[in-house]
Each structure stands twice: as structure tokens, then as C-alpha cells.
């Protein structure tokens, strides 16, 4: 971890890790037995990590959700599925690399996999447009989902985007219509749909592939109507007040589970998914297989009916009894 990028609040952990590394080096170079000390510090570190991560704030969670090493859709695909075959293009304008999709095998069954995709290196980031889709991304997604419906294959989507791309071309090509259409079409697809929020659930750009029968969310993912910074810029008139906005907006998995917006939280390895991608993928795979088995027991009519009810019920208001 010493060479990895760390977040501000992880500093005490990193410092302790550095110390342990030093001791190990001394042990190796000078042939001193300091294993008792190393073990003590290692125990301390686990305790410190657990402590820091049990008191983590929404803003810190936002940082983890955006961590440069956080696993993305294409990191999960080979770990969760066998034979992921990527398909491209909306058949109208172009292929949008910010959304990927294709068929894959999960637990011996063919599924349609769709997800936002961010880039790791600068070049990749630009290529993936920082995970911000254009209209053709949503149109590719709905093309693939409609195909999955025709071929009777369940759909699994991975949400991880700062939001839809605010660009001239995106508006000219009907960004809003593309998102709206996905919401409408997804609400009636006759196959099971499982949604997983793996990183940033950024507003309409996230929801556009986020209507489904079961919504899972990784422990340190976020899901929000607007980015904390965007909200701060409008309501606080100060984009640097993201920390306050993150708290006010209630964007964590725990909050959304409490509100009944998501159905299940998938625990992350201590320190976040990027600390142990294999373990994260294993936990997620277990949740996906189980969820899919549950959904497959439901008849198509009930499935679509239940999905409608699920979204129909969302909303809190007061109504006077007349």
C-alpha cells in the first residue's frame, strides 16, 4: 500500500504501514529479530483501520467511491463472469466507450452485462470520457437490454459514473430523451434486472441504466440526485462545500438502504474494494448469483408488476385525509 494512492483520512494507516515496512527491512538487513514488535504494530494497524472505517463520513465515502484504484466494470467482468463478450455501438451514431456491455456467463447462465466504464490512465480516462456517457451510450445500453429481453436473458448493470456528460453534442443529440427512454423501457422489460452501484451513482446518468428488480450497492459506493460539489455550487453558492452537501444529501449505502431505495448492501473489504479486488468480486458474485436465483422464481408478469410497484411506492409526502 505504501506505493498506492491514499486518501487524506487514511494518513495514520499509511504512516503505521510505513513503520512496519521499515522494521521489516531492518530485520532483513541487520538480522535482528523484531518480529514481536512487527506483530504488535500489525495488530494495531488492523485495529486502527477498523476504527477509522467504522467512523467514516459521507464525504470520505465519496472519496473512496471515486478512488483512482477502485475496481470498475471491466475489472469485475472477468472476475464475476465467464466469457464476457463485449458488444459495441448504438447502431445510429457511434460507440460510447463510457458505457460497456455484452453477454457473459454467470454461474452457468447467459446474462447481459452493462456498465459505466471509467479509465485508469490519463489516456484511458479521456477515451472513456471519465465515465460520463453521451446519448449514444444510453442508446447502446437500451439496444442491448432489449436484445436480452428478446433472447430471454437476465440483465445485470453496474453503475459508476459522475453523471451524464454535459456537452454540446450530448444536448443536440437528445441526452434527456435518451435517459428518459431508458427509464421507460427498463420499467417493462420482461427479464430479471439486477442493478449494482459499484462506485459513483451520479444522478440521471446513473439512473439511466438503473431501473431494476433488485438494487445492490457496495458498502462505500454513493448514489445521489446531484454530485455533492454540484449541489454545493447551487445551494451554498460555493463548490468547495462538497463535504456539507455530501452529508445533507444522504448518499451512502447505509442511508439509501434505510430509505428502502436500495435492497442490499454488499460489504467491502476493510479499507474499500480496491484493497482486495478478488475478495470484493467474490462477495459480489455470491450476491449476484443468489439474487438471480431469487428473481428467476418469479413469473414474468409478477416480475414486471413488482418492478412497477417498487418504483411506484417511492416518495414521501403528507396527504390530508379528506
Amino acid at each position: 500500500m505504501a506505493l498506492q494512492q491514499f486518501l487524506e483520512f487514511e494518513k495514520p494507516i499509511v504512516e503505521l504501514e510505513k513503520k512496519i515496512e521499515e522494521l521489516k527491512q531492518i530485520a532483513a538487513e541487520e538480522r535482528v529479530d523484531n518480529s514481536v514488535e512487527i506483530e504488535r504494530l500489525s495488530r494495531n494497524m488492523i485495529r486502527l483501520k477498523a476504527e477509522i472505517f467504522s467512523n467514516i463520513t459521507p464525504w470520505q465515502i465519496t472519496q473512496i467511491a471515486r478512488h483512482p484504484l477502485r475496481p470498475y466494470t471491466l475489472d469485475y467482468a472477468p472476475r464475476l463472469f465467464k466469457d464476457f463478450i463485449e458488444l459495441h455501438g448504438d447502431r445510429n451514431f457511434r460507440d460510447d466507450p463510457a458505457i460497456v456491455g455484452g453477454f457473459a456467463m454467470l454461474d452457468g447462465e447467459t446474462v447481459m452485462v452493462i456498465g459505466h466504464q471509467k479509465g485508469r490512465t490519463t489516456k484511458e480516462k479521456v477515451f472513456r470520457n471519465f465515465g460520463m456517457p453521451n446519448p449514444e451510450g444510453y442508446r447502446k445500453a437500451i439496444r442491448l437490454m432489449s436484445m436480452a429481453e428478446r433472447l430471454n436473458k437476465p440483465i445485470i448493470t453496474f453503475i459508476d459514473t459522475p453523471g451524464a456528460f454535459p456537452g454540446i453534442g450530448a444536448e443536440e443529440r437528445g441526452q434527456a430523451e435518451a435517459i428518459a427512454k431508458n427509464l421507460m423501457v427498463m420499467s417493462r422489460l420482461k427479464v430479471p434486472i439486477i442493478i449494482v452501484v459499484i462506485g459513483e451513482g451520479g444522478s440521471g446518468g446513473a439512473l439511466a441504466i438503473g431501473v431494476g428488480d433488485k438494487v445492490l450497492m457496495l458498502e462505500y459506493a454513493t448514489y445521489s440526485v446531484i454530485s455533492p460539489e454540484g449541489c454545493a455550487a447551487i445551494l451554498w453558492k460555493d463548490g468547495s462545500k462538497g463535504e456539507q452537501a455530501a452529508k445533507a444529501l444522504k448518499i451512502t449505502a447505509a442511508d439509501l438502504h434505510r430509505f428502502g431505495i436500495i435492497d442490499e448492501i454488499v460489504k467491502e473489504p476493510l479499507g474499500g474494494a480496491h484493497q482486495d479486488v478478488e475478495a470484493m468480486a467474490k462477495a459480489l458474485q455470491e450476491a449476484l448469483v443468489r439474487s438471480l436465483q431469487d428473481l428467476k422464481k418469479i413469473s414474468t408478469d409478477d416480475l414486471v408488476h413488482n418492478r412497477y410497484s417498487k418504483y411506484r411506492k417511492i416518495g414521501k409526502f403528507y396527504e390530508a385525509v379528506v
Partner: protein
């Protein structure tokens, strides 16, 4: 962009400061023209110089479009609650209180059944003055009920949108109203009835990216700002100047995003004709009866 009414302010015009007396004159936010208020009122609140359609409140909109006395409101008693206990520089509760003090509506959307040139229709109008017409739980619920009622009563739907988008103060609940209203429209689409979406200045964000863009027919008033991302956000993101007329009705028509632009003075006629042409025949009979 908001037209500042009932407020005294001064404008700089050819280096001479012009005092604008309170209430008597208004400045067109689009072309900058100072206009006598009475003249604008006579002109359906449209700028006589540049044809910009000023924002009007929901009551005036209803009066302009529906046959006199035909509009019956439903579910007026639904009120917003502060589910997140949201506070920015001001508490959401206080923002609601302020809005409730100055406006008759409980939230930013009213709907009901009415007639346009004799044609029965289920229709809703946004109240932009209520927190920028933002969509939270109440707005989403009312739109969904409007659509469900239209299915049950077998009549067409018209929604007049003017909104800044989803209401941030209700967080994820606001976002989910997009899915909820679109799911309702998916049901409506199977009923064989028309949905006309009318976009007014401004229609943005989560409202555009849900039911507003799903009209069978999408109409806009002239020069209305319509889009998903706000122009300032786009400019800051791409660090480029936006093209002339970007995100205005005329621009969207050119790019194939909307069906037509209809001036306020013609709105009732166009809507009446469309309803007459598109509503199933048995429905028209019911109207006459």
C-alpha cells in the same frame, strides 16, 4: 433569467441610468427592452419586441388554455415533507414555509381534468415560482396519479413543464421520481391515448430527462430554455463558448428534439385540434354527451 417583477431596479442603457419605477414597467430579460407592464399583460405576457414568452404562473396558464370553468383540480392536498432533514444555507422546512406563505400551491405542480375547445383531457402545470418548479416526491406522485387517472378515464394527457429539474432537498427521492413517472408513462403507452408534452421556459435536468421528453408530441413555447445540463455547467466543463441560441426551442427544433414551436396565442387551438384528432372516437362522443 428570472423576470424580476415588483422590484425597483435600474438598468444601464447607452450610459444613462434609467430609473424603473416599481410595478409599472418590466424589463424583458431576453432582449432588454423596457416595456409598460399593461402592454405585456394585454399581449398574453409576451414581449412585443422580441416575442420572448415571459414565465407566467400556473393559474394564468390554466386560464389561457382551458375552456372557462372546465378545470377541476385533483389531489390538491398533497404536501411536501422534509424527509432528509435537509439544510444548506437555509433549512428545507423554511424554504417550504416561505413558498407556502407567498403561493397558494402546496408544491410545484397542479393537475386536474379539464376541456380544451371541448376536448376532455387530464392535464398538469408546473408552478415555477414554487422552488423553481423542482420535482420532489409530491410532484412525482402527482404526475404519476395524473397518468394513472388518464388511463382509467381513457383520456389524453397534457403536461406543461417548467422546472429547474429534480429537487435537491429531497435527494435520492427526487431522482427516483424520474423512474416512477417514466414507468407510469410506459403503462400509459399501452392505453392507446395521446400524451402531449409542452415545454416552457425553462425545462431542465431531471424533468427533461424523464416524462417531459417522452411526449408522443413535444411542443415548446418560443425561445424557451430546454435541456438536461445547464448552460453554465456545460460551458465550465468544455471550456468553450456555447453556440448562439443553444438549448433554445428553435435550436432544439432544428436538431430534431421537439416536434413544434407554438406561440402562446395559438396554444389552445393547437392543443384542441391535436386532442380532437388523436383521442379515440368514443371519447369524443363522451365529451359531447
Amino acid at each position: 433569467m428570472v423576470l424580476k417583477r415588483e422590484k425597483e431596479y435600474s438598468v444601464r442603457s447607452e450610459d444613462k441610468r434609467v430609473r424603473v419605477p416599481r410595478g409599472l414597467w418590466v424589463k424583458c430579460e431576453f432582449c432588454g427592452e423596457i416595456i409598460y407592464k399593461k402592454e405585456i399583460e394585454k399581449n398574453l405576457e409576451v414581449c412585443p419586441k422580441c416575442n420572448y414568452h415571459f414565465r407566467i404562473n400556473s393559474q394564468k396558464r390554466l386560464a389561457m388554455v382551458f375552456d372557462e370553468g372546465s378545470f377541476v383540480e385533483f389531489d390538491a392536498g398533497i404536501e411536501p415533507i422534509d424527509i432528509l432533514d435537509f439544510k444548506d444555507t437555509k433549512k428545507y422546512k423554511d424554504r417550504l414555509k416561505t413558498a407556502h406563505k407567498t403561493l397558494p400551491q402546496k408544491d410545484a405542480f397542479i393537475y386536474g381534468e379539464g376541456r380544451i375547445n371541448g376536448q376532455r383531457v387530464m392535464a398538469g402545470v408546473f408552478e415555477f415560482e414554487f422552488m423553481g418548479g423542482s420535482m420532489g416526491s409530491v410532484v412525482g406522485e402527482k404526475i404519476t396519479r395524473l397518468i394513472e387517472r388518464a388511463i382509467n378515464k381513457k383520456c389524453g394527457v397534457i403536461i406543461f413543464s417548467s422546472s429547474g429539474g429534480a429537487r435537491m432537498q429531497e435527494g435520492i427521492f427526487s431522482l427516483m421520481q424520474m423512474a416512477k413517472t417514466c414507468a407510469a408513462l410506459a403503462m400509459f403507452r399501452k392505453a392507446g391515448l395521446p400524451y402531449i408534452s409542452v415545454l416552457l421556459d425553462p425545462t431542465m435536468g431531471g424533468v427533461t430527462a424523464s416524462f417531459a421528453m417522452l411526449g408522443d408530441i413535444i411542443i415548446a413555447e418560443p425561445k424557451a430554455l430546454i435541456g438536461f445540463a445547464g448552460p453554465r455547467v456545460i460551458e465550465q466543463t468544455i471550456k468553450q463558448k456555447l453556440p448562439e441560441g443553444f438549448q433554445r426551442s428553435e435550436y432544439l427544433l432544428e436538431h430534431g428534439v421537439i416536434d413544434m414551436i407554438v406561440e402562446r396565442k395559438n396554444m389552445r387551438d393547437v392543443l384542441g385540434k391535436l386532442l380532437a384528432m388523436l383521442t379515440p372516437a368514443n371519447n369524443a362522443l363522451e365529451v359531447r354527451g
